[in-house]
Symmetry: D3
């Protein structure tokens, strides 16, 4: 999928945050005419994501900087692999360096962690999907990183999908009423998903024609029973599982037969990947 339409705007803000009134160290110590080249080097094994964002950072600072990606989004890079090269005015490269690295390290971190989950469920038929537990301001980029890691995306926001959670159920007066209201009020191209806590709620959700079911905080065994019930009743209904699933437990959940396993940690707790920018005069 393409870069988010507002990537230039985002990048401009991130640069403004770091540059403030200007990079006074480079402006005073480095000649205006000096040129430099730089190499983004992986310092550990990682899955690549965010090179388009890094390219946008340099492009925003100075259209004279040439950025060349050497690996593809979603590719696994070993330690010491050069991910991309830049070349251009030295001051511009130094001004863009930190923002580009901060984005790249975070996005490769998300892609790398996602890949580990995806590999953990390989062969089970379950997809790993993200959540809305993303870094404020970086959602589209982090969701692209999840895809780079082999995961799929859940809703992009509160407006492009209906997910009726326990809070909604309480406030709406139950599953049947909540689903009925959602069906009536939302555009016809949006599915309705309901979070259920037990088999009773599950049956009610199926009776009301929910398009997708979220099984939250169940054991793998409970998931298995729920999956069987759904498949028997309506094979077209999607089944998602969530709730404190980690790399150790994810495969046992996947084995229980759901379509999707959503993992908040992909985006809220992925450690940054270790990447350096090595600069030299040219």
């Amino acid at each position: 999928m393409n870069a988010p339409p507002d990537l230039p705007v985002l990048v401009r803000r991130f640069l403004a945050e770091d540059l403030g009134r200007g990079d006074i160290t480079s402006e005073t110590t480095v000649d205006r005419s000096a040129r430099a080249s730089g190499r983004f080097v992986a310092r550990e094994v990682l899955v690549v994501s965010g090179l388009e964002a890094a390219r946008a950072v340099f492009g925003e600072v100075d259209s004279e900087v040439r950025f060349t990606a050497l690996v593809d989004e979603g590719e696994t890079a070993r330690e010491k692999v050069v991910l991309a090269q830049v070349e251009g005015p030295a001051r511009s490269i130094l001004a863009a360096e930190r923002v580009a690295l901060n984005l790249l390290m975070r996005l490769c971190g998300v892609a790398t962690l996602t890949r580990r989950y995806v590999e953990a469920v390989e062969g089970t038929g379950a997809a790993i999907t993200d959540t809305r537990k993303t870094t404020p301001g970086l959602r589209a980029l982090e969701k692209a990183a999840v895809r780079a890691g082999g995961g799929t995306n859940h809703r992009s926001g509160l407006d492009d999908g209906v997910l009726i959670k326990d809070n909604h159920l309480t406030l709406a007066g139950g599953v049947t009423e909540a689903v009925r209201r959602a069906r009536t009020g939302v555009p016809h191209l949006l599915k309705v998903e309901v979070e259920v806590e037990d088999l009773e709620q599950l049956r009610e959700a199926l009776d009301t024609g929910a398009d997708a079911i979220l099984l939250d905080n169940m054991t793998p065994e409970e998931v298995r029973s729920a999956v069987e019930l759904v498949r028997r009743r309506d094979p077209g209904v999607l089944i998602e599982v969530s709730g404190g699933i980690d790399l150790e437990t994810v495969r046992s959940y996947a084995g229980a037969g759901p379509d999707l396993i959503s993992v908040g940690a992909l985006t809220h707790s992925a450690p940054a990947a270790d990447i350096a920018l090595e600069v030299e005069p040219c």
Copy 2:
């Protein structure tokens, strides 16, 4: 220190990212007139940061939502402690929930990790300080979280301090020339810090009148020698250490006598703290 002056702007963007064209689930399933209350509950031990940001999120969505903080910035909260309460129109609380939680979980995560580093060096006299390796768009909030955890802040951006790194040295033609240029060109209220790799560069930096020295990627022993040299030559010069220092090694570095130890992981790799918002009708 106060909240960043642009907090309302930030929060508006974060909400726009999540809300898009509106929270269609709540708008269709929850009555416009319904009211609710909610409690932010720690689900693990954590150091508190970000409650002002969470307050701003609810305030931005709906000025009728009342947000009450129950703990202080920088306080340690045990599991199950209620950090804050909200009360108001149910739709507004649900619309703000995810953004508030995403901020709070991340900022408490940063504060909690910082606290662990600060405790690790207790009694040594060294301060734990952050870097510019922050999440793009969240720098001021993450730097406040570092302070909440007991750390200190390094530069806020490229414009409010001079830090001459190896790249600048190469491009400027050495320590002496780089420091001289910086001295001449920057406002008199900004100090000049130089990164050095060995004792020779260190001596040159001291000769040129650098205000602060950054010792990068040295062993604790090398740090100790460098510190002795600096203290002997000019006791007014600040000494900072950095480079791959983690919770296991930080105390040995602190024991070598620097003023500051900077740790990128405080902001780029802190896992989110586990916090839930429990909502009920009222």
Copy 3:
């Protein structure tokens, strides 16, 4: 459904467009301390929409202006009915007048035209739905006006639903491939709708598991045949009809059994409703 989250921003822009550097006529001819009241009066029968937008206009100009709606969104107002009252500083009321009227007249116009279509298909079970043929900048408001008129909403934008049109089919190499690609790439809460031109494409779309079918530019008889085919094959699939349908032909299409009839004219060609603001000193 609620007002669009960015209504204040929209209204501010509309006011800036009209006010420019200020309302020089009122500022020079009317005393700063003068107060006035005004009544929005329907000058023809109309269906009400846009009062919240009008309220926002006055609120943005001057928080001292009191705006009181006297009818409800979606209500039919006869000629001479007072829709709303305003009271406050005279200059502020005059500065806001034109923008408020321009919005109200257009939105009531859309709601009124929609109501005529809805009434034309009454009892057939078909819903009248809008399109993306809205006024640039006013989509959310116009879509709310369609709902006020009794219609339903299609996609809000290119990002919250998949509608594969003839152009996509040509470029993707046919129905089967296009639907397969969409299924794989988009979040699981979004349905996939395909536009088909004949029964052959229709069968292919059903074979590939499309969630909804758009029958474009067919006669009512062709629609009837297509509907029968779909209902026989998969009763869960939604059927939408579009293409040059007007108030004279809409009922015969509705009688052919589709779920939805989409009408671009609701938003691109609705004449403004006639509404006046009668102001007097107070």
Copy 4:
């Protein structure tokens, strides 16, 4: 006259409204490398306006799209005439299509309706002029469309002309006082126009030195008497007529001798012109 200076900003907003987080249908079904061409075809007779706006839409989405206008602003195009061609990356053309069409259809609609009024008064010496009853956010474009149709423009906003209406007269205490205040307070390059309801007010307006007179809601005969009075008293004073004038009555008003006839319907009730974009791979 040139395109409005803020056209790129407007177009960016309109695209953001339609694209949201991206065109998920094209991004999933159409190859990133696919190229296409398209032709904007008139499906009814129309007067052309808005091609520069359409060009800006494609340019904003992707600078690689080549847009070629084949007719001129203000030209009459018959059915099936190709107004413009586009060529470039298929995804970009599809992403821009709807916004470009929505603008073009509306602006050609305004130009076409204006032309009908202009033709209706041909030979009378009266000009057809627009009002501030424009679509919020589209004023400059709609006013250009009025010019394309052969009409002239009234004020662009509340700040670039003085038009004292009945409300101002009431609040200022009469014609003499209102005109005097306006004369004193506004820059010397702006004329002062006064709306009058009867001959008495008209005489007062002439006595106070108004530069232009607006005769509102009069019959053609009343207009004729008023015109005679004005011409006799001061041939330099401009005379404008307004108030519920339609295509049937406009010529009789024009025959009464005014300089200008202003028609709100030009912009608030022009039906969209029917235009299609026919896309094919290339």
Copy 5:
């Protein structure tokens, strides 16, 4: 006339420029709970302008600060007169102080210089008017200051009046053609002014029906001859004089009989008025 509609936006930008990431001196040295009061004191005789702008600055920083103006716009204040008082949270007063003072000192400076010109031409019937030679970003405020000083305003921008200068004449091919084009193309409520260099151009301008004449860089005697010519030919035509007129020469120009004398120095070279903010705890 009212404050510019975008005053809050302006003030927010000016504060952002000064505050950056925050007022670190006050935030570290002054208690969050401390309150203070302050008095704006004239340190020389001055004409007042800009108090509404100053009020907006404090209001933007903190709605709890109470700002009380003690003198009126346009009033002359002697040395030591208190122009306004503020009271509220000490940190907020200190954060707003500099921006408020910078605006106030500049705007009082403009008003004071304008008053000197106005007094210099007293009794001659000529008005002192400003130009577009204003400080970028401050035009509306500086034009209000000119009014406060007793002057009148020329165009607010290139869009609200037609002033055909020598450059236009050269490029359009002479006075007659230029005026004809302008007449045809601009809205009927805008007057057309032409700059002339000699009597020949002046006669041509009068022949083509220009509404106003700008006599540039003439001697008082030349102005007198031109004025006589114009008055004889068309007493309704406005006459403006400009070109290096200063406080010493302005009265002799005024005596030559023009309607307006425009002086760029009012806004481009007025020295700041001397004003202090005296703060104390409370």
Copy 6:
């Protein structure tokens, strides 16, 4: 030092202020295809600053305009020297003219006045520095003009340096406490400067380890005593003098031995330099 990072944004705003809805004079009188060239000519001796800003103005209006600077930032230009040339579409040059001139005249004015102060203190070792008394919205440009004139820059804003003034001292309870608080709370790369009124406060400031001292409103003799005290106690401490110093008194202050003399008038009261743009067809 480089142009401010937000120069394009600034320039866009300044143009919007002047252009409003468009340059109606040029658009109606000058052919769209006409080309012109122009020369910026000094009409008095001046020190050059602001050519990059002027270039940005033309570039923002029309990328086809070619702008060629003929002198350098900081250079002294005699009367009649051509500072820069432009060439391109005539309408674009006319649309940009006023904003470019307004910036250039002001910035050359600041540079020229600064140069006079710098020359007045030549040989004394004291630097001339600016203050935060800049034109709101133009700080970075005016500070660059000060550098062009040979001055140095004080703080860029409230966030990049600590300057404890009398107000802070009062509110914090004295010099010792204020300096201690600042030391603890601000990043380690920022120096702490304190304003003192007498020798007692000066001693206290030195005792608490202030990095810089501001001597406000002292006589040259008092400054001399203070300088001697500081040099004796701590030769590393910077000494700044301020308070109503003008071109007549500045040398006697400089002779008293301070490092810096700050002068608000450099930016708040510099008269505009006289510069013309001479345009001709080409």
